[in-house]
Symmetry: C2
Subunit: 420 residues, 2 copies
């Protein structure tokens, strides 16, 4: 599309979203929940149509996409029914606007009310998975925000049908369909436009590869919540229960290798390496995991491929793990300090002292003692929903529940007070 | 300075700050308070030296600076003694790291602890006032952060002596002097370097003019907390108590016209304008306030200068106010929606219904009913300290107390749990 025309179009979408955010922010929790229930029933009612379009779109892109990617793009009737169930589960969660409200009397006499409010307009830029379309729309509406969606080109047709169904159900209930809008231009230019729509967008949440998120952070003037990059380490201390360690490492690596909370790196105390690693590698190899490591690790076990420098900062999102030996806790902490993405870092140990020092000194959203890294998750934490996993320190950190999509305002109730 | 050399130098400052943040984050609240008390006694002990350097620096810049600016730059013995007292008051405040901590058991068995932690490295870019140097250093240390200060060129020598005193007192107590660092290069290049030091800086807080803050927001890849721009409106509703309204408006305008919570714009219900405005203008004129307004306002009172378009979006920070008539609440809300800086917006009314609609629909950090806009202030709110007033929605909004300089991390305590 012509750049100038695209600029105008995205500006208009922003303006409409801001106006719609005023509407949705005024809806009661019952009204917002009714929208979610309507979404659930409409997408189930239209599931044949959705599947048909999705199948056709997958066919069109088949030659350009890897098998795992095709799987992620796919929207079967079963998946749609799962999505509908998760919408119904979301309805049951408490209103995030009901949390964090407080009030007090100021010395000068007036009353201050700290009131939880929606952020306003949330923009979500994500890759192919069309289920994110429904998910993002539902979470933002539950928290009384308007949303602008910018999905990937491979699933634009599926996204179009999903959003038109959502908009129809908003319309039926008598609300502005601009509460949920889709950017239909899937060129890079539309991302660029969104990154500078500070006037209308309150927060931008990118989902995708580490390099894409870095690009957004480096170029956005809209406030960003960084999510998702996870070069997660597990440090196996000398005192660790080795059987338990093997179980936890295997789970952290293979339970879902393509996600940000899977383990990517292993630091092992040199004193136990000879005894521990061959047992561990037996299990990992059985599970199809490729093992990389530095020379010392290779000398212990010849199934190990020599790691290169880039390995230590790479999030594989695949059945690969890289192993490095350390001589003590301090070396482990320093190594993690250099290579962490501040997502999840774990220690396996029986030393309370070492665990405590690790917890204190590691700068990450989640620091884990003697459990799988895969627990860094909004549902596992009991939040009932997850917007994403923030790796930054401002606003929200770690698994984000619905309250991450809220802000607050102060209301002053006076009786003519003036400042002395 | 040579750009490359400056780049290396600022990078080194960032690296040192990050290392120092690890130290200060491990200090108990007693240890942090001891640092503040040492600051207080050292700057009082050295007050003659500070005043001497400040007087000399003021002389050097006398020809380039306005009188109000000179006054802001000045650091008298009395001011130093006030600063020392405020440091002692800061010691008495609760540890911000003790707030917001919570824990629970997850379904899978492990325990989750949500723990308040410091942000890490805070960078503050500010204009001339040298008292900000002590203030910023004290607030960041109280909240267990390291700080990088970049003050204006007009007070660089005063800042240098202040920071060297702070560093000496850190050293005497056995802590790294890199907990507080000053950027000595006051060229624009040093600001640019800081804006891209994402690797080492966790948050950047600019203080200064609206255009400077916009520049920082537009160009920083480091997360920013926007503070300070306030084009604050007061809407005088038809039902307002007019005597009270005059008192509140005069206070909002003149009590300290150079700050962000002073009133800049007045919206008056057309039905009461003829009766109300001349009485108000008598009082404002007596106080030396220049009155601007649109034609309708000028027709009511010929003391009014015709406002131009730019007036409605300008923060005067001076004894000027601009007045516009509206026919109803909706017009007032819409007008504010177009011109707000999301800082403080006030309504003066006796209609509970109108007050409630105004509170709900105005999108600002603080919305005030029947009280002076000057109450948007951390001390007036009872926070005991103020980092600044945030006009953004992410992380912190409105007057920011010490907790605005904290984040949190999650700690998982497991017993070998794996994800099913």
């Amino acid at each position: 599309m012509n750049t100038n025309k695209l600029h105008k179009q995205i500006n208009l979408i922003g303006e409409r979203a801001q106006a719609a955010s005023q509407i949705v922010s005024g809806l009661s929790i019952d009204e917002r929940n009714k929208i979610l229930l309507s979404f659930a029933s409409e997408i189930e009612k239209n599931s044949d149509k959705i599947v048909e379009i999705n199948v056709q779109e997958l066919k069109e892109h088949r030659d350009d996409l890897s098998l795992p990617m095709q799987k992620r793009l796919q929207l079967s009737k079963e998946k749609i029914s799962t999505i509908a169930s998760s919408l119904k589960a979301l309805v049951k969660l408490a209103d995030p606007l009901s949390e964090g409200n407080t009030s007090w009397q100021a010395k000068a006499g007036f009353k201050v009310v700290k009131k939880t409010v929606p952020l306003g307009v949330v923009a979500m830029i994500y890759e192919a998975r069309p289920n994110v379309t429904i998910d993002a729309a539902a979470l933002t509406i539950k928290s009384a925000n308007a949303v602008i969606l910018r999905g990937g080109k491979e699933s634009i047709k599926t996204n179009q049908v999903l959003v038109s169904i959502l908009q129809q159900s908003l319309k039926k209930l008598g609300y502005s369909e601009n509460i949920v809008q889709l950017i239909e231009d899937t060129s890079h230019d539309s991302v660029k436009e969104l990154l500078h729509l500070r006037k209308f967008i309150d927060v931008l949440i990118p989902r995708g590869s580490g390099s894409f998120i870095n690009y957004v952070v480096d170029n956005s003037t809209v406030p960003v919540i960084e999510t998702g990059a996870g070069n997660d380490h597990i440090f196996v201390d000398k005192s660790a229960d080795q059987e338990e360690a093997i179980k936890v490492i295997v789970n952290s690596k293979i339970q879902n290798p393509s996600v940000c909370n899977s383990a990517e790196k292993l630091l092992v105390h040199a004193d136990i390496a000879k005894e521990f690693l061959p047992k561990l590698f037996d299990r990992l190899s059985n599970e199809g995991v490729e093992i990389r490591g530095d020379k010392e690790v290779q000398l212990i076990d010849n199934r190990v491929e020599l790691a290169k420098d880039f390995d230590w900062d790479t999030e594989y999102n695949d059945l690969i793990i890289a192993v490095h030996l350390v001589n003590n806790l301090k070396e482990a902490i320093d190594w993690i300090g250099k290579h962490t993405t501040h997502h999840t870092e774990a220690i396996l140990t029986n030393s309370a002292e070492n665990a405590s020092e690790f917890m204190q000194r590691i700068d990450a959203a989640v620091v884990t003692e003697n459990a799988s890294t895969r627990f860094t998750d909004g549902f596992e934490f009991g939040f009932g929903a997850e917007i994403g996993i923030s790796t930054q320190k401002l606003h929200a950190r770690g698994p984000m529940g619905l309250t991450a999509l809220t802000s607050y305002k102060y209301e002053i109730f006076g009786h003519g007070e003036i400042r002395k």
